[in-house]
Symmetry: C2
DNA sequence: CTGAAAGCGCTTACAG
DNA sequence: CTGAAAGCGCTTACAG
């Protein structure tokens, strides 16, 4: 059915060795011979079997990207950055969705390794897999870049956005607007949430911290879940008084708060201020437009791709960490207290 | 570095044939022997090389999904449906983004074939690749399912949502609200846009059709682009009078109209009505919530996955077409004329 | 029940 | 410059 290198060899009247050489262009071949082989290749529309090739080379010119949720625009925007970089190097990028589950993430990574991708990018890897040594173990086998999700002491490679500083920027901004009673909205488990919470607690150390957990933070469903969470919060606290501002760990959650407020008849930013994180495109599409912290997602993706290519080509599985600055984006979901 | 079947054989004191047999469980092996082999596998943490295996089997237990844009939630929701189905069958799904470009789509498909995926799902394939015979050619080599993008006469397999009928539902609804001057917003090239436009022209046959093109319809950027388009439209037409309603070919465009209206100080739905298409989650997050046509994206994905599995397992590369009904979702972006 | 051998479709020393 | 042969890591008739 599909032609093999042997068919081409026969057609051109040469050995398969020679065919292989003209395909790869890695050894001298007499011009006339080469042309005969090329003609045969064209005639049969021959395409070398990548599986056979990779079996020998251990190279597939492809990379795998594992993301926690396809429906969180944060991740897809990072992937755009990865893809645009990889395209230049003619690497294929394959995306696999772990749904933010520890086991699933392991499985996806192992599958990529089984399929001999040349490297893997992990966006926001599960903390659990950092702690249990899995990521580190895997980093010994194959080039790995992690985007965010840093875990101290794990020997692998990171591109991080400075989420801690971003959190500080946002909190400081709210504080300058006069807000003291700031609620903190986070998802269940992720390094990123833990880190932000730490900063939050530090920041509001003299006050009682108001930390609330919403479910499944990396999926679009979190919007709805956070709206529901707000209903509960509003039963326990007087919004606009006991809580005058929300800091949400990502924009999806912030939009959930916005939607919840609308349902409750609470005006943003007049009655309560809301600040998100990430600056996904959605943050500009809601009303009011979200004040948020930009992570420069494309750059995050591009840097990770760049470093991965280096790792692949130079073979060094060293441990390096690169940090990218965040930027506060002021729009209209937060305003002075008692506006 | 990595152990091979030979290492296991040595460790267990058997031939590689026997090792292979216990791994695959496809031939009888004496219990005692099997246990020895299993112990060796465990001890070495042996994992068979999938490349070598696939080279023989021509099976990889993986499928490829080609989508026109990662940042259009329509596609990612369809993919969710595909994944949830495939998980049950233990097939891996790999996603590749064609950016809605004809050449890129070809390339992605060819790459998947090169890597011996067992089947491919194409979401909204490019019309051009339908017309030029590429999809049909490829369908002869490997099981293919297309989601939407139907093109008459092309021998491949489809799961379609009834977009024509959905368009009619939306248009009829607007008409019943009293709207006669309905503008039609579409992207550049896609079967889906052409089909909808056809219905639109049919529907408004006594009126001058008002068809407007926005750029790059399958990417989140279309939101911004459509807002800009609205500026131009508003220069040429009196919105609220010459145009009293917009029908947008997808929700992203509809949101663009919504945003544009806000900037222009036009109230939706009081001054102008807007109806979208797809019912992506975003349509509930904007204000006013979008009246739109639900395509049941998860079901679309699940059906495609189900059919693909059948194709793969029964080996029939037959041509079948399955249609899924759409449903009008009435929310608050459209209202009676002169509300 | 088990093993030696051929083969999947390539690449790459080695020899000429 | 070219080819025969070994080998990548498996599977599967074939023979016993």
């Amino acid at each position: 059915m599909k032609y093999t290198i042997e068919d081409v060899a026969k057609e051109a009247g040469v050995s398969i060795t020679t065919v292989s050489r003209v395909i790869n262009g890695n050894y001298p071949v007499k011009k006339e011979t080469r042309e005969r082989v090329e003609a045969a290749i064209k005639k049969l529309n021959f395409q070398p079997n990548l599986l056979a090739r990779s079996l020998i080379n251990k190279k597939t010119f492809s990379i795998g990207v594992v993301i926690p949720g396809l429906t969180n625009m944060f991740f897809t925007e990072v992937v755009q950055g990865i893809e645009s970089y990889m395209r230049k190097y003619d690497y294929d990028v394959y995306i696999s969705d772990s749904r933010g589950r520890v086991d699933s993430e392991k499985r996806r990574i192992n599958k990529f390794i089984d399929r001999y991708v040349d490297g893997i990018i992990l966006i926001d890897p599960q903390t659990e897999n950092m702690k249990n040594g899995f990521i580190e173990e895997v980093s010994g086998k194959i080039p790995i870049m992690c985007i965010n999700g840093y875990h101290v002491g794990v020997r692998t490679n990171f591109v991080l956005s400075n989420e801690g500083n971003g959190t500080r920027q946002a909190l400081k901004y709210l504080s300058e607007l006069g807000h003291e009673n700031i609620a903190f909205i986070r998802g269940e488990s992720s390094f990123s949430y833990d880190l932000k919470e730490e900063i939050y607690r530090e920041f509001s150390k003299d006050k009682e911290p108001l930390v609330f957990f919403t479910q499944d933070g990396n999926n679009i469903d979190v919007v709805e879940n956070t709206s529901k969470l707000l209903m509960e919060i509003s039963n326990a606290y007087e919004i606009g008084k006991e809580i005058t501002a929300f800091f949400a760990c990502n924009d999806l959650m912030a939009v959930g708060i916005l939607n919840g407020c609308r349902e409750l008849g609470i005006n943003v930013p007049e009655d309560v201020s809301v600040v998100g994180f990430d600056n996904i495109i959605l943050s500009q599409m809601v009303n009011p437009k979200l004040t948020t912290v930009d992570q420069n997602m494309r750059l995050l993706g591009e840097k990770a791709a760049e470093n991965l290519i280096n790792l692949i080509q130079n073979g060094s599985l060293s441990c390096n960490v690169e940090t990218i600055d965040t930027r506060l984006i002021i729009r209209s979901s937060a305003s002075k207290l008692n506006y």
